[in-house]
Amino acid sequence: MATDRRTFLGLAGAAAGVAALLPGVAIAAPAGAPLRYVSSRHDQLTGEYSAAVVDAEGRVLRSVPLPDRGHSLAVRPGGREVVAMARRPDTFAVAFEIEGGQPPVEFSAAEGRHFCGHAVFSADGGRLLATENDTEAGHGVLGIYDAADGYRRLGEVPTAGIGPHQLLRGRTGGTLVVANGGILTAAHSREKLNLDTMSPSLTYLSGADGRVRQSVRLPADRHHLLSIRHIDVAPDGAVAFGCQDQGAAEDALPLVGCHRPGEPAPVLFDTPKSVRLAMKGYVGSVTLDPAGEVVGASSPRGGVMAFWRLADGHFLGTLELADGCGLAPGAAPGRFVASSGRGSMVDYDARAQRAVEIEIEPMERMSQWDHHMLAVPT
């Protein structure tokens, strides 16, 4: 698809009456405990993939089949609809209503594009923005889809980087935050082609026209091998991020840090060496607690999740959870809900360092929770 900002702006204007990628003011998450969670999963017995809605008591409320393995999901503001995104480099997405009702809507990436596993809605819920790989040009784009029109693709803008992964809405002036992981892959493949030259970045795009407002990188030394993949955004706009180290995991670099928009460079949190080693160079998801004060990062490779105070990067502790990866904000400040590829869910208080297993109903225990679990605000 030919891409330029005029095309995109024209479409956006025609669709919404305003020339803005992100019309509307960001809607703050309503107060109160999120009681439902969504995640992709894999049934170990049947081999089937699905997206599930599960409550805080471990009851599966809804399960929607997916054509293949999913990755993350996007919750539409208002909390009634969710889009499950394909795992990279697949090309499907499935939109479904949390309560059921309308049949799910499946849509695909454009020719020459594949999804990268993450997407986010515009603040007014009208558009879905998905990280995609332009396999011919070898760079990242955000595909823009009209949620009101069966997820028709409206256009795309560049992410100003290679291998984009997670994206979220920023907190100020309708920005978008994109983790450009920096790793080049070919069509239909996960093979890494540019490890010597990779240059991951954290990029802020204008929601109005898709232009780059700021792009920051870790130091160009050994740290250029830290692929920035996962992010979460605090109420004050600070961005917590987690990396995957493409160098030797034994180097035990810190993998989790934060960046405040406008500051010249991101910082990595001080992390005890035992934890750096335990994380095995791999972070699978990054999430803030409901207050936006505690950063959690999961390492399924190490079977460990680690937690820091966002304000000063103070290390709080770890939760051991074999193959644990999904991490969602919990019911109260400092709390998280963690999920694992072995089918378990845990309610964790990062400040008190207390874990309570959420008992999944027996018939659903053969499911493996995939990389990301998201809270659906009630």
């Binding site: 170990q44 017995l45 399924p300 490779r301 079977g303 074999a322 072995r342 874990a355 053969m366 990389h371």
Partner: protein, 352 residues
């Protein structure tokens, strides 16, 4: 970290992290492990199933041609023998059994939406003789092709019911039952043949060991969660014995006993190769003792979960069996996974 238990299911399983094989030790010989598993467990298991399904077909044929005085006793016995054979390999979900939807064709379970009964009635009502031809039958709904449909025919839909009260004539029901038995035998035979001709590179691959190891752990998990915990319900009043596998033939716990036999066979083939003929280690002795204890616990209970639940202390005994099986799973996760140089890792292996 402090840990609060909120259920009878231990969080320990979720928390264990397998340690890699001891530093300095030689990496495990995955090729040798895979070959031992295939030779000692996989191929003989499917061959046993093929033989017993064939015997079941013969028993059905005799019964249908000339119903004996003891009614369905012989075909029911043959059903139990064939089901025992299947339950010994039921946990194998990778490799040859993945092709041609073989696994669900032998047994479509769990059947959360009650498809087997519905599809079977539709199948019986249809008026086309072609559907009993093996090639045609293999294309039918998987729900009618295997043990659960046969179980309904043999245990719920007694062939002696007069034709006008049954959804189909006795002849039709006999044809369906014989066709299902032949179908199971054919699937088992094809699966065994595929394993006999499997590529050397598959047998050499660490990924194949990972599949066997996943099947071992998943099999143990399925016993605890799906087969035992689900029918138990949260309280005695909320027990749901019809969620149990094979409740119609009243053999749910016989299935579990056969599962444990097969799973120990799989575990033993791996462990024996790892120790290269030397003495059993204390941990292998412990795990094998636990397998034996679990099998004995299962054998002491009524094979029917409903009957066990109705018996004195039945519920507690099932809970105790669940605990033993989960203990075996945890021991294997903590010990064998590291020695095989693998963790299960659905997310750990993902790379995103």
């Amino acid at each position: 970290m402090t840990l609060t238990r909120c259920s009878e299911i231990s969080l320990a399983a979720a928390l264990v992290v397998a340690l890699p094989f001891a530093a300095g030790a030689a990496p495990p010989d995955h090729g040798a492990i895979n070959r031992a598993v295939v030779a000692q467990h996989v191929t003989p298991g499917y061959e046993r199933l093929a033989d017993r399904a064939e015997a079941l077909g013969n028993a059905l044929q005799s019964y249908c041609q000339d119903p004996p005085a003891d009614g369905l006793a012989a075909p029911r016995d043959a059903f139990h023998a064939a089901m025992d054979a299947w339950q010994r390999v039921q946990h194998l979900r990778h490799g040859a059994v993945e092709g041609n939807t073989r696994h669900p064709r032998v047994q479509f379970w769990p059947d959360k939406r009650g498809r087997v009964g519905g599809h079977l009635v539709q199948f019986l009502k249809r008026d086309d003789a072609e559907r009993f031809a093996p090639a045609e039958f293999a294309e039918e709904s998987v729900a009618v092709q295997g043990f659960p449909a046969l179980e309904i025919l043999l245990f719920a839909d007694d062939f002696s019911i007069p034709a006008e009260k049954a959804p189909a004539s006795r002849e039709t029901r006999c044809s369906a039952a014989e066709t299902i038995a032949a179908n199971i035998a054919a699937v088992a035979e094809e699966t065994a043949e595929d394993w006999n001709g499997v590529a050397e590179e598959t047998l050499d691959a660490k990924a194949t060991t990972r599949d066997f190891y996943t099947d071992l752990v998943t099999g143990l998990e399925a016993i605890g969660s799906l087969k035992l915990l689900a029918p138990l319900g949260e309280t005695p009043e909320r027990a749901r014995p019809r969620l149990a596998e094979s409740w119609r033939s009243a053999r749910s716990l016989a299935n579990v006993a056969a599962n444990l036999t097969g799973l120990e066979e799989l575990y033993g083939a791996m462990e024996q190769t790892l120790r290269k003929g030397s003495e059993m280690s204390p941990r292998e002795r412990l795990i094998r003792d636990q397998f034996e204890a679990a099998r004995q616990e299962a054998a002491r209970l009524e094979p029917s979960i409903a009957a066990t639940l109705a018996a004195d202390r039945g519920r507690v005994r099932i809970q105790s069996l669940i605990a033993t099986v989960h203990q075996i799973r945890d021991l294997i996760l903590q010990n064998l996974g590291g020695d095989l140089d693998m963790t299960l890792g659905f997310n750990a292996l993902d790379g995103d």
